[in-house]
């Protein structure tokens, strides 16, 4: 049944300090809302359990993208449109720019935010594998102060995160050390725009003389959380790219994931597609590694 707006409160404190004060005063009571592309869907369906919402859409600090020599810091309420339009993100973090371009459609990209995608913690979210392979670090903030958390430890279970009840995601930092890497991203879904992924992949690597120096692989929609393929990465590092290695990587990736059957796909299909995406990435590494 549709929600009755009379049952919900929405406040707009207007600055970060006031937002954090309210969240500290009444922990676990306030649900932050930025662009609303997830929260409002639940609300309209009458499934939003939080009755008190706090508006963080127009807080300037959360909308900044700051560029430092060693890193880039993306405010949690930056939209996909802002990410796509940012020169350094497009040039140095193409996996993130690509994922932003196939999240929703243009209207949802104008409102949906990177921090919202992280906090919503869907294992199928398109931008999260890119953050995993770029070794993102999150800055979480509360009235108690700031703390930095490696993004790969942030999701603790299905829709569970390391966020405390009085905390907000402040920003997402990416180290600027990947511009020379070969990268590959692909979304497998009914269509790129709007459709939620059956499987999505981001890969990043470096090859010299046919040998893999470093490989980062991550998959979405194949486990309770967006997944970095640690075992497969270890297995690939220092190896020559050969057919037998690609086959072994495919097998290793399939053993690391925990796909399920749901309305969008089956576990069997997801496992096959995940293995194929890993193989495609390694083929690209092999081809471009030769050119390099």
């Amino acid at each position: 049944m549709r929600a009755d707006p009379a049952d919900y409160k929405l406040v707009s404190p207007g600055n970060l300090q006031a937002v954090l004060s309210l969240m500290a005063a009444e922990p676990a009571q306030w649900l932050p809302i930025a662009g609303g592309t997830d929260v409002m869907v639940l609300y309209s369906a009458g499934k939003l359990t939080s009755r008190k919402l706090i508006n963080i859409w127009s807080i300037p600090e959360l909308r900044e993208i700051e560029v430092f020599p060693e890193s880039i810091r993306i405010g949690a309420a930056c939209t996909y449109t802002a990410l796509r339009g940012h020169e350094i993100i497009s040039r140095e973090f193409p996996l993130l720019a690509a994922a932003a371009s196939w999240t929703g459609g243009i209207a949802n990209q104008n409102r949906g935010t990177l921090g919202g995608n992280i906090a919503n913690a869907s294992p199928a979210a398109d931008s999260l594998p890119a953050l995993l392979v770029y070794d993102a670090e999150l800055t979480l903030i509360s009235e108690r102060g700031e703390r930095r958390v490696p993004y790969r430890t942030f999701h603790t279970g299905y829709k569970q995160t390391a966020l405390a009840t009085d905390e907000l995601i402040r920003s997402i930092s990416l180290p600027r050390r990947f511009s020379g890497y070969i990268s590959y991203a692909r979304k497998v879904g009914a269509r790129n725009a709007q459709a939620i992924s059956k499987v999505c992949f981001a890969g990043l690597g470096q090859v010299s003389n046919g040998t893999i120096r470093e490989a980062h692989l991550a998959l979405g929609s194949v486990a309770p959380v967006p997944l970095r393929l640690n075992e497969t990465e270890r297995m690939l590092t220092g190896k020559k790219i050969e057919i037998s290695l690609i086959d072994a990587a495919r097998e290793s990736a399939v053993s690391e994931i925990r796909p399920i059957d749901d309305i969008r796909s089956t576990a069997q299909y997801r496992a096959a597609a995940a293995g194929n995406l890993v193989a495609e990435f390694l083929e690209k590494l092999a081809a471009e590694g030769v050119k390099a």
Binding site: P5, A6, D7, Y8, L10, I106, A107, N108, R111
Partner: protein, 165 residues
């Protein structure tokens, strides 16, 4: 969880719609779509899916294409909103209307306001879009009648005729 009485306070929200200053007394979580349609009588924006998938409730909010079903009205405070009713003065609208007519870009009409606003939003940023850019620009707008090709062709034709002028 029982809502406490304090949760149901209405508030005044000010914004402009199609150039006119508007004040509404409403619940802050009322959807912008419902305020436009029910309070202001602007029924051009339609509710299709109510979850941001179909684009038929699209409006321009401070120049950005958005789905008004996903916007709590309090977030539209002090914004400038343009709906399909207010787009008639736009420089691109004559060529878009003509091209939609000629190409058969409109049938039942439910998606058309959103399609036109998405096309305006695209052409303002990219006056001469490639076909792939047209497809992407309109990818958040679903149409169950045309099969899309006529709409894409209409936007392409409108871009050509606008650039030619």
């Amino acid at each position: 969880m029982n809502p406490s009485p304090e949760l149901s306070a209405k508030c005044k929200v000010f914004f402009t719609v199609n150039g006119e200053a508007v004040k509404v007394l409403t619940y802050p979580m009322e959807r912008l779509l419902d305020v436009l349609r029910n309070e202001l009588g602007l029924t051009g924006a339609k509710e299709g899916c109510g979850e941001g998938e179909c684009g038929s409730c699209a409006v321009l909010l401070d120049g950005m294409l958005v789905n008004s079903c996903l916007i709590p009205v309090a977030q539209a405070s002090r914004a400038s909103i343009v709906t399909i009713e207010g787009i008639s003065a736009h420089a691109l609208i004559k060529s878009l209307q003509q091209a939609f007519l000629e190409c058969g870009g409109a049938q039942c009409g439910i998606c058309t306001p959103g399609m036109i606003l998405a096309a305006v939003h695209l052409l303002e940023k990219k006056p001469k879009p490639a076909m792939a850019e047209i497809r992407e620009g309109l990818s958040g707008n679903l149409c169950r009648c045309t099969g899309y090709m006529q709409i894409f062709e209409a936007v392409e034709r409108a871009a050509q005729s606008s650039v030619a002028k």
